[in-house]
Symmetry: C2
Subunit: 418 residues, 2 copies
């Protein structure tokens, strides 16, 4: 019994549509819908690509990285199978397991934890990724017999200038990105995956976020980050079909075949020194970003989506958009055309013990090949970006996200393990 | 210019209504509305009592405690005046200051940080409290000449059985509870109060929360905590007018006159050992709580709001609602009639470095006198509650929340300082 049926709430139509994908192991080639779903509705779990990438960015994030603590390949594969079943259920608004939170025997532990009872699917997406250490440990061990399948694009990220990474909140063998319009639904999903994985995986780190800072669809307005600026104006969008082939989705021939249709995700927890920023003048803030704060227009334009005119000079002969401004250094024109599909979130993790809020941006960026996209872009930004005075990169992750689940007998990572 | 006007968004009606309170220093005696506002609307800042107490609990929380770092009384008073002005503006959906985020001179730092531009008031409430250390420091110093005005009810909480409190996230000279339907609006408010207080106060700790676990109005359904159970069924509600006089609002003659119309708030960060809980059987979970998990009915009833029948015995002669169950030990019948108005929130603060989610309940409870309410209740619970095996109290706070702001020339704490 699913959690809405039990309570007689709305949303059954959306659930039915998603659940239909399970029947008869039908193959789905329908692309993810580009329209923002209503906040309670379900987003299809099955498809050519994983949901949660070009899906219009939901409002809330719970991102988790796991260490695999078993050494047995079959236990890992079984976990991925169980996770896939639970993910298909939860994204449709059902309990994590068929018994559910409250319908089992009194003597048994429930197979759902219950805190999402009565809540609609809430646009939940669950997106899995495999970290470099899943293929080969730091000491070179091929733990699960898949070292030969490690994609060259799943590189070890270099150390960038000014990196202040904390290893305990970086990396991981597996990651799951849970996005939803209700944080309780995202947390419920991650918590139940962790519960199912007990004894096989261990939570390495996890991060909550809010206020999506990068729209991933033209149906969305651009939200603001904690510097108060619009963030994601020039983001890759779900509607950029041709660009998505070039820049987002791994193509056949890019590397090992199991990744075709997948994507690579880079995560960076970027602490913002907001107290320092807040005492900086408006003019300085705008010069650093290269856009104005109200409209989000480039300093050479008047509207948010005006293209920056990097050659324009001011009366003194300097560039109107400064050479070390963020918008210039991150622009495809200065990065061999490379672009990213970002879907980061603001975070506040309490305070830092030094009288300041511990706040910033949890950066998430999907791409076809980090060696040609994130790595050169961040190399340049980390050396020159004027914004560096106000930010610290404190965590880092890179994960290979396999293609979508096309049928009910498929599971996360099947193409990798079989 | 307020942030919605600038962008021409909706909500102007609600803002206008709230802003009308500022004009002419009119005195407001209208009680807080008991109906849940629509998620974008403004909640009146002015009134007999502070908003954010019986206000129907909003979906998101950012709670912050500050240490006062100045020794000068006039600086503290000036800060409280500036905070009050900013709070009146922000709860009405305006920028924190009259210049705003983007309309000032390029050479000046903005007087708003900008991340809430375009967002409606979102039901924001800001509620201030004064901690015991504001009146007299641990070493006995009367820092601001108000030691004589410390209410006896603003007691130093005793150490309870099994307390594992972390001092760095406990206590504080001042607290502000920011509740809103949008976390970005709550975070924006706290961040701007911290910005205004730079040099006068320092953030001691702060806590984000989601998924209100205690409804404070009969217009709301009961939400679930991270144990998966409904939480707050027997809570004091805004509609309980007579009970609120008895149990929530400080009455004339209760202590120093400046607190009449105010309330005391206890905060406890309660870590839940969810991994252990999740492996406990459904029957055991229900026995510990004393209610069933699906409906939330007491084990002697069938509906959520059925009164627990504590005398009922099972076939073996034991109590159907166990003697050490949470619902029994927390019930007014076993606490000299004492009740609380709770408005706690679920939290997930990433993970704990031991492979587990760092999750639980940020407990917030308002009351007329903690010496007769929270302290004896928690003394009993901390010794006997079966739930103690699955929880750890890791932070604690007690603050005196003064009465409401009645006029535009009033400020938070005026009755205390003048």
């Amino acid at each position: 019994m699913d959690r809405r049926k039990m309570l007689g709430l709305a949303g059954a139509g959306a659930v039915g549509a998603a659940a239909a994908g399970v029947v008869g192991a039908q193959v789905f080639d329908t692309p993810q819908p580009a329209q923002a779903a209503d906040a309670g509705a379900a987003i299809p779990f099955y498809g050519e690509h994983q949901a949660g990438i070009v899906t219009p960015a939901q409002d809330r994030l719970h991102f988790v990285a796991f260490d695999v603590i078993t050494s047995k390949r079959d236990e890992l594969v079984e976990l991925l199978q169980r996770w896939t079943m639970a993910a298909a259920r939860m994204t449709a608004g059902k309990d994590a397991g068929s018994i559910g939170a409250v319908n089992g025997a009194a003597e048994a532990a429930p197979d759902d934890t219950g805190e999402a009872i009565g809540l609609p699917p809430s646009g939940l997406t669950l997106t899995i990724g495999f970290g470099p250490t899943l293929f080969r440990t730091a000491d070179g061990k091929d733990r699960f017999g898949i070292a030969g399948k490690r994609p060259p694009a799943l590189t070890d990220l270099p150390r960038f200038a000014k990196d202040t990474l904390l290893p305990e909140i970086s990396g991981g063998d597996l990651c799951v990105q849970a996005c939803a319009h209700d944080p309780q639904v995202a947390v419920h999903a991650v918590r139940n995956l962790a519960r199912i994985g007990f004894g096989t995986v261990s939570v390495r780190w996890s991060q909550l976020g809010f206020g999506r800072t990068s729209s991933t669809s033209r149906s969305q307005t651009t939200a603001r980050n904690l510097f108060g600026f619009k963030d994601g104006t020039a983001n890759l969008k779900a509607e950029d079909t041709k660009l998505l082939q070039d820049q987002l989705w791994v193509q056949p021939g890019d590397g090992p075949e199991w990744m075709a249709g997948g994507s690579y995700v880079v995560t960076r927890k970027i602490r913002m020194l907001i107290e320092t920023w807040d005492r900086t003048s408006l003019g300085e803030q705008e010069a650093i970003i290269g856009r104005n704060k109200g409209e989000g227009a480039p300093l050479t334009g008047t509207k948010e989506f005006d293209e920056p005119a990097f050659a324009v000079q001011d009366a003194a002969g300097g560039s109107t958009i400064a050479m070390d401004s963020h918008v210039r250094l991150a622009h495809p024109d200065f990065n061999n055309g490379a672009r990213l599909l970002r879907r980061g979130y603001n975070f506040v993790d309490g305070s830092d013990g030094l009288g300041r809020l511990d706040a910033g941006l949890f950066f998430i960026a999907y791409q076809r090949d980090p060696r040609r996209q994130f790595v050169p872009m961040q190399t340049q930004l980390s050396r020159q970006d004027a914004l560096n005075e106000y930010i610290r990169h404190v965590s880092s992750g890179l994960f290979a996200c396999p293609p979508g689940i096309r049928a009910a007998d498929d599971y996360w990572g099947r193409s990798l393990f079989e």
